[in-house]
Symmetry: C2
Subunit: 224 residues, 2 copies
DNA sequence: CGGTATCCCCGTCGATACTG
DNA sequence: CAGTATCGACGGGGATACCG
C-alpha cells in the first residue's frame, strides 16, 4: 500500500490506498465489468503488466477484490467493499467531465474508444446476426482503421482486417467521435458538420447512433 | 500536475490532478473551512510547507482554488470547480470509515483530533463567556496535555498551559476518544467503560458531549 | 492466456533551514 | 504569518524480456 498520512481521518485512510497511480483506474475497469487480467490491460494500455499485477495484489490485500481461479482461469471480482467504490468513481468522473479542460491529442486513443464502445453496444438495437462496422480515423497516425464485429453473443474489436463484409463504414476525426461519445456533441451535430460520416444504406445510417449507449458520463450536465 | 494517463476518460483526467499525494487532503481542509496557509498546515502537520505551497499552486492552475490577498493576508478560496469536489471527498470518507480496518497507533494524533474538535464546537451549547477544557491523554508519549479555550468569538487550542482556570478536565485514552469522535463508540459507552472520564460539576459533565458535533463521518452507517 | 523477473532512471517527497 | 531554498534518498513505476 501507499505511504501513510498518519491521520485517523477516513479520507486520509482511503487515500492511502487509492491515491497511488493507476489504482482507481483499475477499479474503474473492474466496475465497468472487466474481470480478466488481459481485459484489464486492454482498458489500461499504458500500464505495465508488472504494475497491474502489483496493484491487483494490493487491492486484494485491502479487501477490495478477490482473485478466483475457476478451471485454471483467474478472475478478479470486486468484494462488497470494492463495489462500494462506485460512488467514488462516479463522483470523480462527474467532476472530471465538468471541470477538466480540453483533452490533449495524446489523450485521444482510438483503442480505448473502441474498447469502451464495445462495452456499450445495445445488442437489442443492432440487427440480429453478424454486423461489421469499420472505423476509419482521418487524424490518427498509426492504426487508423478498426473493425468491430457485433455477433449475437459477443462483440469483438480489432485493428487488422478480419476479411468480413463491412456493413457500416464510419469515417471520423477521432476527436469529433470522442466528443460525441462523451456527450459534448450530439450525433446530429457531428454528422452535420462532417466530423463524423456514416456510410451505409440510409435506413442503417439513421439507426446506427442508437446501436450504442454513450459513455455513462455523457449525461452529466455541464457548467453554464 | 501529475503524470498523464493518456486517456480521455474523465475519471483518468480527474485523477491526473487528484491522485498526487496530499492533494485531496488539502482540498479536504479547504472544504472544512481553513483558508490560510498556516491553518492548512495545522490540519496537515506531516506535510512540508514546500509541498503544501506546490500543491496550492497546482490547484490554482487547475482552477480549483484562487489565492486572494487582502490587506497583506493571503487566503485560499475554492472556486466553483473546487466546491464541487465535496461529493468526491464525502464519498471517499464514507468509504473509508466503512471499510478501512483498524487504525494504527501512529494514526492517532491528538493534535489533529483537537484541531478537528475545534471546528465542531457547537457554540450555542456551550455556556456563554469563556470555557476552558483541559484534555489529558493517558497513552500519548509527548504532549499529553492540551487546552481548548472556548470564547464567545473563537476557539483556541494549545499544548502549553495558558494558565487559565479549567472548567472541564477530560481524561481519556486517545484511541477511545477518537473512537467516540468517529462514531464507533457512543459517549455513553466510553464514559461507562472508563476510557473517557469527564471531571466537572455534574451538570456540566452531563452537558459536555453536546458541546461538540462529532466528525461528519460519524453518522455514516457501518457494514453489518 | 496470465502473469514474473529485472533493471535502472528520474522525479517526488521529506527534512531542515532560512527569509521578508 | 507566509512562505522559499536547498539537498539528498529512495522507491515508484516505466520498459522490456521472459516464463509456465
Amino acid at each position: 500500500m501507499g505511504a501513510s498520512y498518519y491521520q485517523f481521518c477516513p479520507v486520509a485512510k482511503a487515500m492511502e490506498l487509492l491515491d497511488e497511480r493507476w489504482t482507481l483506474l483499475v477499479i474503474r475497469e473492474l466496475i465497468a465489468g472487466s474481470d480478466r487480467f488481459n481485459d484489464l490491460r486492454r482498458g489500461l494500455p499504458r500500464m505495465s503488466p508488472t504494475l497491474l499485477s502489483k496493484r491487483l495484489k494490493q487491492l486484494q490485500r485491502a479487501g477490495v477484490l478477490e482473485r478466483r481461479v475457476v478451471d485454471g482461469e483467474s478472475r478478479y471480482v470486486l468484494t462488497e467493499a470494492g463495489l462500494e467504490l462506485r460512488p467514488v468513481v462516479e463522483a470523480l468522473g462527474a467532476w472530471g467531465i465538468r471541470w477538466v479542460g480540453d483533452l490533449g491529442d495524446r489523450d485521444l486513443d482510438p483503442k480505448l474508444l473502441l474498447w469502451d464502445m464495445r462495452r456499450h453496444v445495445d445488442r437489442a438495437a443492432v440487427p440480429a446476426g453478424r454486423t461489421v462496422v469499420n472505423f476509419e480515423f482521418s487524424d490518427v497516425s498509426a492504426s487508423r482503421r478498426w473493425w468491430m464485429v457485433i455477433g449475437d453473443e459477443d462483440v469483438d474489436v480489432c485493428d487488422d482486417d478480419p476479411g468480413l463484409e463491412v456493413d457500416v463504414l464510419l469515417r471520423a476525426r477521432l476527436r469529433d467521435l470522442i466528443s460525441v461519445w462523451m456527450g459534448d456533441t450530439s450525433w446530429r451535430t457531428a454528422l452535420f458538420s462532417g466530423g463524423v460520416v456514416i456510410e451505409a444504406p440510409s435506413v442503417v445510417r439513421r439507426r446506427f447512433p442508437s446501436w450504442f449507449t454513450l459513455s455513462e458520463f455523457a449525461v452529466v450536465p455541464r457548467p453554464a
